[in-house]
Symmetry: C2
Subunit: 340 residues, 2 copies
DNA sequence: CTTGTTATTGGGAACGTTCCCAATACGAGT
DNA sequence: ACTCGTATTGGGAACGTTCCCAATAACAAG
């Protein structure tokens, strides 16, 4: 059942007022004589008193709860970020509620309503929407994970998508690939900024390669998206002459594509090279193991938490942006080709 | 910032009392005339009022929050269970806070303290401890995921570990394996019940096989555990004559062992057969893909939520136990051997 | 001893909503 | 019109803790 001992009873047993008990148990504290302190602590122990944090939170208008909105907690990428954010926030005595948007603005809006109910002190999110004003209108300190707009009124953390994409393309170039396809998505930073797409096009331009619109795929960042990519690609006329590598929007898609290529009689890591994005644990276990760009999830999660904690301290300071570099992780999914 | 419009202001604008406003907005409701209902809803809309659920929860001694304790949310097994439990609980307007025990009783005890703070209506957990009395002493409705004691005072769900283990052993037997090692752990159901170990020993006895104590490994259910298993196994004298298959305590360990065996010059799925437990997504992507016993995580998560919701309805009903069968998932990690 | 400063204490009010119950209104039947 | 039963309403109190501020106590300096 709920706590049934209140500070009134503790005060009675300790022979002090409820205000003195409150000063002993609350974070803010206040002056209490050693004698009173002893008496209160003894009474607390004897009665098995536990502070009712709902009552305290109600009075203080501060609940110690943070809402973290991710696309899907069952996705290893997001569960690792979540874990890191949780650990950091728990150090400061915050508890974390996780919401799953499934990339649906409708679901997201429902969580915004929950966020407005007085239940949370702050919000961390990888938003579906890029309507920053709507997020600000919730009225909570908020931190964005991932890039949504060039200029943001929100504290933001994530991986530098441009750099990560460029890193992968350069590696493919260095290993001799000249016919590179890209498989991205219509979610997240691609939805509004088309960051990966822009880097890809700039890369081709810089290398003097013609843009082949057929080689820019838009599929879901899922296993199904990987299968769809392979289906569409092998159906392209003369596809083997037109593609020697694919840069995938994330590992889940890339891993699925590895298997789908093999099933289509195409040997991944030889006939076709693949690079993923994220470096989820499974990327190391495919055959061939996936070359990918690691996004430092623990750093991102912890940074999101730090930005939010910092925002609690100073609500009025200018928005911060903390992007991490990706890190190329070389495994077996990229062939070494001679320079053409 | 926090909600600043209260029902007092809504009542004033609508020309009714706060009690009438409360009757309109609360779950419990009560009689309200159509005219008053209209007036209140109009005022709510005009003022942009949002119900303060902390205040309501404080008054009602019911917060709509559930604490879910798992070993590690970043583990795909637990993140999927979490997702399923969340979805079910959200249908009934509960929010879920996830705690990570990391198999530490100390961490777990800290969460028990949090659970007692008045913040949660219920608890779902895969406990580190088997001290059911300690869990009951928290004073919250609680549901256990996984088996902890033969006779439990707690609602319990999970996979039938005996059956799942037996299923895997029978499959190894049918495929001609006669020298089967087992790699389990000292956590979870193995810690207190040694379920897998007992099934293994009974199996050997039934088949008239001698128990070779060297073939029962105790390692962590982690990637490191998988590597450790392989290190220890290949160091056994004449190990190739003594082992033709390994039943692993979970997929994470088994996947890691696949790679470690290959690195040790042993071909998984040929020289050595492996069976995992769980069927996490990565199990389908190894080479060879892992044969394993699927634990129906979505069913378990949803059942845990259902059991808790049911307990909320009737706190005094007898504890329930709902174990799911495992399901054998055949892939490429088990060789077909001739009958010896 | 007097004065000034700081430490300590305790009672009342606040936080926003729900619940309780007495009072009133309304509708149906006689 | 009167009676009875049901619907509706509203004011006060409760929930457990924190904060505010006046009052008191303690201590130091002159």
């Amino acid at each position: 059942m709920k706590p049934t001992i209140s500070i009134i009873e503790v005060a009675r047993l300790a022979g002090v007022s409820k205000s003195t008990v409150s000063r002993v148990i609350s974070d803010r504290g206040g002056s209490v004589s050693p004698k009173a302190l002893d008496a209160v602590n003894s009474a607390i122990q004897e009665l098995g008193y536990t502070r009712n944090t709902i009552a305290a939170g109600f009075r203080m208008q501060r609940t110690g709860m943070v809402l973290l909105l991710v696309p899907d907690i069952a996705n290893p990428f997001w569960s690792e970020i979540t874990r890191a954010a949780q650990d950091r926030l728990e150090e400061e005595d915050y508890s974390v509620v996780v919401g799953n948007t499934d990339w649906s603005e409708q679901r997201e809006t429902r969580y915004y309503k929950l966020a407005r109910s007085g239940r949370f002190d702050g919000l961390i999110l990888n938003s579906v929407t890029d309507d920053i004003a709507a997020i600000l209108a919730i009225g909570l300190p908020a931190v964005m994970i991932g890039e949504r707009a060039e200029s943001q009124a929100l504290d933001t953390t994530g991986t530098d998508t441009r750099m990560a994409t460029r890193m992968a393309l350069d590696y493919l170039w260095e290993t001799g690939h000249r016919r590179i396809a890209i498989a991205t998505t219509e979610h997240g930073s691609e939805r509004f900024l088309s960051l990966r797409r822009k880097v890809y096009e700039d890369f081709l331009l810089e290398k003097g390669l013609a843009l082949d619109a057929d080689l820019a795929f838009s599929v879901k960042l899922s296993e199904e998206g990987g299968r769809e990519l392979v289906r569409e690609l092998v159906e392209l006329p003369r596809w083997r002459d037109r593609v020697d590598a694919v840069l995938c929007g994330n590992d889940i898609m890339a891993i699925s594509a590895i298997n789908a290529f093999r099933e289509a009689g195409v040997e991944p890591g030889k006939d076709i090279s693949l690079v993923g994005m994220d470096d989820i644990p499974a990327a190391a276990h495919t055959f061939p193991a996936l070359t990918t760009v690691r996004k430092p999830r623990s750093l991102m999660g912890a940074m999101a938490a730090d930005l939010l904690l910092s925002r609690f301290e100073d609500p009025a300071k200018p928005p911060e942006r903390r992007l991490f570099p990706g890190e190329l992780v070389l495994r077996g999914s990229v062939a070494k080709r001679g320079r053409a």
